[in-house]
Subunit: 127 residues, 4 copies
């Protein structure tokens, strides 16, 4: 992803690194540091923002630039606390239709433990 | 909220301002600027992080310092795009039990238009 | 709702009674009896089916017969056990757009206690 | 599952057949017929009730009879319409903790097409 496209965005703010962007899966990670709550553990909102980013970019890649993609519903289950290292979200499209896409997320820590799961529903509109 | 408690956290990062922290409701806002996606509109993950923060702090206030509160499930519906100003989340507890609390959120823009709704399920544990 | 339209449907099966069907809200109820789990308490799936019915019918009324409405995402929080009487869901549209509608539900027991909340995202398509 | 335990329940009503009940997965199916909406397609509430049943029974099996299990949050994404045959839900526990379990569901039709996904959060309490 071009650095200037993400400048000043939420994605820059949470420190997203894109590891794989493809039609069959999108993988990205963020550091726990700086994305914590007051206890020093990972803030659930950071996990949510990571998943929303992965599903949005994934749908945009699948549909092409002539469409606008808009996340309309996000559900996240937080399964395990994380205190350091990175969390990595792997997004897989469950469905990419003409007007709606649905993405499934599994989020792991650096020891490959499942720390969250999620689903994003995305609306696909004409530009 | 003491400034040093939020230093280096996700809440500082998205620029949360606390407008009301009480047992019956918690209200907080964030600026759209800096919390955008690549189109320049508000990033849904910022809305999610705002809601998660409001419900977590609200439950912590209700249960007291001897408990640990952990968001376990977040659902957000994004209803309307926002491009500038602030978004303000009002959280109301639907239930605060001994081990589980559930918060409902309504998020508005500066023209009082509803731009998102959400629900956070929080686990309450002994320290 | 005409009796023959619901014959042999899920809505007949759970015993839905329609109390109010309007553009601003839709209200319906089901008996707890027959909609229980093995403990004798209300089955959460009955609450879910009630909410999905209310939001689908509400969107169909709002959009008219020339459209097809399809529930695409349902989130329900179960807040309180119920063992007898009826549960009544009140659905309010948070947004009815051209291609997507979002409904909010509050479900109460006969003593007006809040027993569940929920949200349904509905896709609106051309027939 | 003993026939008399499910008599008069929601699970009997939607016609659940249990195909596999184990610690690592629980599989059950329902017929589309009788679980439809007014268009003659599968009612999303039936999918929701099937998932809620699978996750509840799965947690009860994992925790044993001395605990009470209560579904507290259900999220379902409906991905594809179904008009006949059966739908089969496969539930897998993402986490079974001391007080909370989380189940992931994939629901397929008779042609093995993914027609829905879902997640159930279950509270585990002392009897």
């Amino acid at each position: 992803m071009a650095a200037d496209a993400v400048r000043g965005t939420m994605m820059e703010r949470i420190g997203i690194e894109w590891l794989d962007i493809g039609l069959e899966r999108v993988v990205a990670r963020i550091p726990v540091e700086g994305n914590t709550q007051v206890y020093g553990q990972l803030h659930g909102g950071a996990t949510a923002a990571l998943c929303e980013s992965v599903g949005s970019i994934g749908t945009a890649v699948a549909t092409g630039l002539e469409k606008i993609v808009v996340g309309i519903q996000l559900s996240v289950n937080h399964l395990r606390a994380v205190t350091d290292g990175y969390i990595t979200a792997t997004g897989v499209p469950l469905r990419v239709g003409r007007t709606v896409a649905v993405w499934d997320f599994r989020v792991h820590d650096d020891e490959a433990r499942l720390i969250a799961s999620g689903t994003l529903t995305v609306a696909i509109r004409e530009r």
